[in-house]
Symmetry: C2
Subunit: 241 residues, 2 copies
DNA sequence: GAGAAAAGCTGATTAATATCAGTCCTTGGA
DNA sequence: TCCAAGGACTGATATTAATCAGCTTTTCTC
């Protein structure tokens, strides 16, 4: 029912260039691998705002997001956060550090109440070694991440505030597409501060620009909640492709 | 001899966080694999400024930089380039697209006369499939790239012009560390435009900021050539770590 | 080696966005 | 249900870096 109301973004915006693709990896696990990696673990509950791991710490394993959303971010010397990515249900986090044999390159914290399944490093590496398909999908996913991050870099250095905000909103809409209200609309439920840190802007500016977009009939807000009422127009505003 | 004059950066700056690590992959190839992948190919000469591949094109293989330097960049809608990375001797380029089964996510062009060895997609994938060590090193290298690119994103969104320029210069110094003049000094030989596009700044600003750094005794220029005379001070100026 | 083209450089101006200093609203706890 | 705290929001101001317009030097080509 509700899918009739929610416009699909495929074909009108290259959303793939903004999304990682580790969630596709779950599909290539055999039942045995799945049981070994995930079923044995008990999903841990995290409340909104809880830190999952911190940049600079030696990793002990990776996480599967069973439910909820996690921001990946780096903290500036002055204390400001830059959000690198928002991962949602079905995505893995924390594998970079394990695979690179480095410390976590960024921090992760939930942005809503979430359930994460912890997979010990050894288990993850064991499945990786024993399953060429799994390993080749990891390679594929990691290579795709280059596309996403290179995109991000060029957007951050070349695009205006309104363009960056528009792109961030298009990205978030996709991340929140399973979070519908009673009317079947996608509700983006994120603090202005997180939105600012994702778009790389000052919070005050984000608020001002959201107001502009509201006045243009592109979106609506209710408290902190945002929903996009005119996606095509937002895409035009993003001026991306 | 000359290594006595050129200060090592390890220990005073986390240069690893700015460098990809595909050059380490060459070392894990067996002689047989090396012969199959590289020896059979004839190194192709590229003149300065020549485009190696273009964003959006379906990849037919990957390249090993036998000699020279290659910029990886994305072109803006308005025609401005953003340089994502500079690869030098011993590094591979073009593997992201092949592994992700996507089109090239960025373009590559030489920034000095170079020799590249082309490795057809099929050969690369064959060695990848047959050598678990090679495949695990690729995974490691790709995971490390996340560190580098996430770093870049946070620098682009949070750092000032002089900080970005300083970091770019520290990075380039490392890339040019085999390019010494008669006095054993590292010469960075890059156009002001490329430097601006790497640091994400306007060319005029780069020139003004270089002048400042010159006046502070941090670097010297001779035409387009730049050499760092006070690395510690440049690192302080970069304000990074 | 002369001329043209490209790249380096400079100063003035403008535009974009951050910062500052608050007020108002919402929400969760006592 | 009231209060406190945090988050949303607003207007004024400051700051940074881009843009523009031009001159100078270097490099390339014939």
């Amino acid at each position: 029912m509700s899918y009739l109301r929610v416009m699909s973004i495929a074909g009108i915006f290259p959303i793939d260039k903004w999304n990682f693709s580790t969630s596709a990896i779950l599909n290539v696990l055999t039942e045995k691998e799945y049981d070994f990696l995930i079923s044995r673990q008990i999903g841990q509950k995290y409340v909104k705002g809880e830190v999952v791991f911190r940049e600079g710490v030696v990793p002990s394993g990776i996480y599967l997001i069973v439910k909820g959303k996690v921001k990946k971010y780096k903290v500036d010397h002055s204390g400001r956060e830059q959000i690198i990515y928002v991962a949602s249900q079905g995505e893995f986090i924390g594998y970079h550090a394990v695979l690179a044999e480095e410390r976590y390159p960024d921090s992760a914290a939930t942005i809503e109440d979430s359930v994460l399944s912890f997979i010990p490093k050894e288990d993850f590496l064991q499945v990786l070694t024993s399953s060429p398909l799994f390993s080749s999908r990891m390679l594929k996913a990691l290579s795709h991440e280059f596309t996403v991050l290179a995109n991000n870099i060029s957007v951050f250095s070349q695009r205006s505030a309104i363009e960056r905000l528009s792109i961030s909103l298009i990205f978030l809409r996709e991340k929140y597409k399973n979070d519908l209200n009673a009317e079947g609309e996608i509700l983006i439920n994120i603090s202005r501060t997180d939105l600012a840190n994702l778009a790389g802007l000052a919070k005050e500016n984000v608020i001002r620009l959201l107001k502009e977009l509201k006045e243009e009939g592109i979106l609506h807000t209710d408290g902190r909640k945002i929903w996009i009422s005119n996606l095509e127009k937002l895409i035009v505003r993003s001026n991306y492709r």
